[in-house]
């Protein structure tokens, strides 16, 4: 199965070999009319002859050379333009105005019409085609390179290098160019493909260069004589160029495709009740590991009704992974053990349907990204199954005006969204709430207000709160118990009330 991903590369290498050395070994001149027309394939003419008496096999080999020559030369010119113009446009704002302006116009120009127009007036030689297509095909990728350069230019390591006295040429070469490698590769292959196809298409329409043999011109000759479809001669006249063109195109398309990692299959799970935890949120012997790297090891703890428990630890210690596991969001393959809310396991297939936003609710890390940007807040409140009156009451309880429900998320400030998120979490009066770093993006004054609000509501509704944070001050201030996660283990820290 792995090998199939190497197939396109192998095919393209074969095509290249044929294109470069093939014509030296070809038995006939592709233009000679010596043989009789419509000869069937034989030892002398491997693929027979066309209606003009030309040897099809020889024509195919020469056609391969034409196609690849055109593809590679246009791709090379166009890629060169993309890199140079993209670097200039992205780095120097003066050059940007000119280059981007020209690019905008070229992008809008209907390519094929323009080519047809030029070919009609100039005759359509192969050199003209190479020049026209190179000049027309740079804008799209130039824009990509330009935007990459524009972001790279603002990156700290580039600014640092500028402050150390690196000149423009040095920065473009040392810091920016290496980032463009994947773009250049893709651009080269795609342009190569589209150039080959454009040439074939034009030649098929009869607008190719009559001095070279190409697959497109072979098809043009074949289709000008519909009688070939009456007997079987189309099999050797039409089919070979069609197949070669299709194989080359597909190989170029799939050249960049890679094998996707296979997914772990879902396994059936057995669920056992956890002893003495029928009324709590209990975490029982949980192990989590990604790609054989352990995140947490044998973690067990409980959160009792009405308790505020904080889970703290340095960044990268697996706090957020733990939060996701506790809400039943991790795929079954990466973790073992069990997590139960009042005896209902998150491993149950219908846990989400029966308990999300009823038994348990979640406060998302960043309030702005938690709301769907295209739906009004009203809709995002009502969809958890509450009435309009309840929604209004909920937002008013977190001291927001009810007008906020008619707004889109982008019309609200971050503080308003944080409050709205808390209102939403408590709206169905759940028994358990998990809050995943709800304060990490907030400024001190707002943070104080939001945490106060959260604690006040937890106490008022007698909800259990698992508060995940790296802010030790907050954790030690509001919690009944603090769990610290470090080196894959969870330790409980004993607190005394001051």
């Amino acid at each position: 199965m792995q090998k199939i991903y190497k197939l396109p590369a192998i095919i393209i290498v074969l095509f290249l070999i044929v294109a470069f050395i093939g014509p030296a070994f070809v038995p006939y001149d592709p233009f000679s009319y010596d043989a009789a027309a419509y000869l069937e394939p034989s030892a002398e003419h491997w693929l027979g002859t066309s209606q003009l008496g030309q040897d099809i096999f020889s024509q195919l080999i020469y056609g391969t050379r034409t196609s690849l020559l055109i593809g590679i030369s246009i791709a090379a010119c166009s890629t060169f333009l993309v890199v140079v113009l993209g670097l200039l446009a992205g780095y120097f704002s003066l050059a940007d105005k000119v280059i981007n302006g020209v690019a905008n116009i070229l992008l809008v120009l209907p390519d094929l019409l323009l080519i047809l127009l030029i070919v009609a007036f100039t005759g359509g030689g192969i050199e003209q085609l190479i020049i026209i297509l190179s000049l027309l095909s740079w804008p799209a990728y130039m824009r990509i390179v330009r935007s990459v350069v524009l972001t790279l230019k603002e990156r700290d390591f580039v600014k640092a290098s500028q402050s150390f006295g690196g000149n423009h040429f040095y920065i473009l070469r040392a810091h920016i160019l290496p980032h463009l490698r994947p773009i250049v590769k893709t651009k080269f292959i795609l342009t190569c493909k589209s150039a080959i196809l454009t040439e074939a298409g034009l030649a098929f329409l009869g607008l190719g260069d009559p001095n070279v043999v190409s697959w497109g011109s072979m098809l043009n000759v074949a289709f000008s004589q519909p009688t070939i479809f009456l007997d079987s001669s189309w099999v050797w006249i039409v089919l070979p160029p069609v197949i070669l063109l299709a194989v080359l195109t597909l190989s170029l398309t799939f050249l960049l495709e890679e094998k996707q990692p296979s997914k772990v299959r879902m396994k059936k799970v057995e669920i056992h009740p956890i002893q003495g935890a029928e009324k709590d949120l209990s975490v029982h012997q949980v192990n989590i590991s990604f790609d054989k790297k352990a995140i947490v090891n044998d973690v067990s703890f409980q959160v009792k009704r009405g308790e505020i428990v904080s889970l703290i630890g340095p960044s990268g210690s697996g706090k957020t992974t733990m939060a996701r596991a506790m809400y039943g969001l991790l795929p079954a393959g990466v973790w073992s053990g069990d997590i139960q809310y009042d005896g209902h396991s998150v491993k149950n297939q219908d846990f989400a349907n029966r308990h999300y936003w009823k038994t348990c609710a979640f406060i998302y890390q960043d309030a702005r990204s938690a709301f769907n940007p295209l739906l009004k807040l009203k809709e995002q409140f009502l969809e958890v199954g509450v009435t309009m009156e309840q929604a209004i009451q909920a937002v008013e309880e977190v001291s927001l005006s009810k007008d906020i429900l008619d707004k889109f998320p982008h019309e609200c400030s971050g503080g308003m969204l944080s409050r709205a998120l808390i209102a939403l979490a408590f709206i169905n009066k759940p028994d358990f709430i998990i809050a995943d770093e709800p304060t990490s993006a907030l400024d001190p004054i707002l943070k104080k207000e939001i945490v106060q609000l959260l604690v006040e509501k937890v106490r008022a509704y007698n909800v259990s709160l698992l508060f995940i944070t790296h802010d030790l001050d907050v954790a030690y201030a509001i919690s009944d118990r603090v769990l610290s996660i470090e080196n894959q283990h969870v330790e409980e820290e004993k607190l005394c009330h001051a």
């Binding site: 209907p110 094929l112 009609a120 007036f121 009869g206 089919l239 398309t253 936003w357 998302y364 295209l374």
Partner: protein
């Protein structure tokens, strides 16, 4: 916004019109001698040369030629076709319906199919069906118009004989009922429409799939799942709406691209639309006809692209009315 779109596309349109005027006249020796001198161009007959001379009025001053050119365009008078001996405008209007019909139908088909399959594929991302479908679509999208058409033609007309090889109707059709005429024309249009649909469907599909996967991976969808929202509502209200936003732009651009694709497909199936007409005009250097068709094609393609550029920002509430996304926290 509208100003920007109009000025860009208007500028490009003017550029194309000027190019059409100046290109033949700037060729060394003028359009006729230049073509004659080429070893790669077509062979011109005496009659053709005579007609060209008349058409271009090369003896007049450049200013007069240009005035005539603009005047002709404003009055939609592009002169008489060399080979058809008929006013160009008449020819274009005779053949335009054929192209509009196959392009219109395949736009609808390819959009419907592309959107449905794309959403399905994105929703079942990481399942085997998705991967297979995506590779198939990539393969279809990679092939050029004429090759797809050719493969269909070889299989369904030549080998199996299900569909006619060329034309838009059977000559001397032995029926008087409108029903028989309709069946016959559908029969002829099937392969061209299927070819155009296949070419177009993959880009719609890939875009919708990509958008769907991105939307599904975004935090607000994860949060919506956490809210325990029912499967259907999640799919329709949250995912579709967000994933389909960029489709409008694509749709317009696809229509533009389909018109160019129609040139190849009509040439291949000898389907009497304006695409085939354009190919013949270019091949035989029927300059008046070329000029008229060129005008129609550029106007159509540029119009749909401009519409896409203009409409897109209006569909996204985040950009609507120029209000910026509030970034404060």
């Amino acid at each position: 916004m509208i100003k920007k779109v109009v000025s860009l596309y208007g500028f490009v349109f003017v550029l194309l019109i000027l190019l059409n005027f100046f290109l033949p006249r700037l060729m060394p020796g003028g359009p006729i001698e230049y073509l004659e001198g080429l070893d790669s161009g077509p062979v011109l007959t005496e009659e053709q040369k005579q007609m060209m001379k008349e058409y271009y009025q090369l003896d007049d001053s450049l200013g007069e030629q240009f005035l005539n050119y603009i005047q002709g365009m404003l009055t939609f008078d592009f002169g008489n076709s060399f080979i058809h001996k008929q006013p160009v405008t008449e020819l274009v209007f005779d053949h335009l319906p054929y192209t509009l019909w196959i392009v219109g139908i395949s736009t609808v088909f390819s959009l419907a199919l592309g959107i449905l399959l794309g959403l399905w594929s994105g929703w079942f991302h990481h399942k085997h069906g998705d991967r297979r479908l995506m590779l198939t679509m990539m393969a279809l999208g990679a092939l050029p118009e004429f090759l797809v058409g050719m493969i269909l033609l070889l299989i369904f007309s030549v080998y199996l004989g299900y569909f006619p090889m060329s034309g838009a109707s059977t000559p001397f059709l032995n029926t008087d009922s409108w029903w028989g005429v309709m069946v016959d024309s559908i029969h002829h249009a099937t392969l061209p429409i299927i070819s155009l649909t296949i070419i177009s469907v993959s880009s719609t599909y890939l875009l919708v799939r990509n958008e769907t996967i991105q939307v599904i991976a975004s935090p607000f969808i994860e949060f919506a799942r956490m809210k325990g929202i029912k499967h259907n509502r999640l799919l329709y209200r949250h995912i579709f709406k967000n994933a389909l936003l960029p489709i409008f732009t694509l749709m317009m651009i696809r229509i533009g691209a389909l018109f160019t694709g129609a040139i190849f497909i009509e040439a291949l199936f000898s389907y009497p639309g304006i695409g085939k007409l354009l190919k013949e005009a270019v091949l035989s250097r029927d300059y008046p006809l070329m000029h008229g068709l060129f005008f129609v094609f550029s106007a159509l393609i540029l119009f749909f692209n401009a519409l896409a550029d203009y409409l897109y920002p209006k569909l996204d509430p985040r950009v609507k009315g120029g209000t910026k996304v509030a970034k404060d926290l």
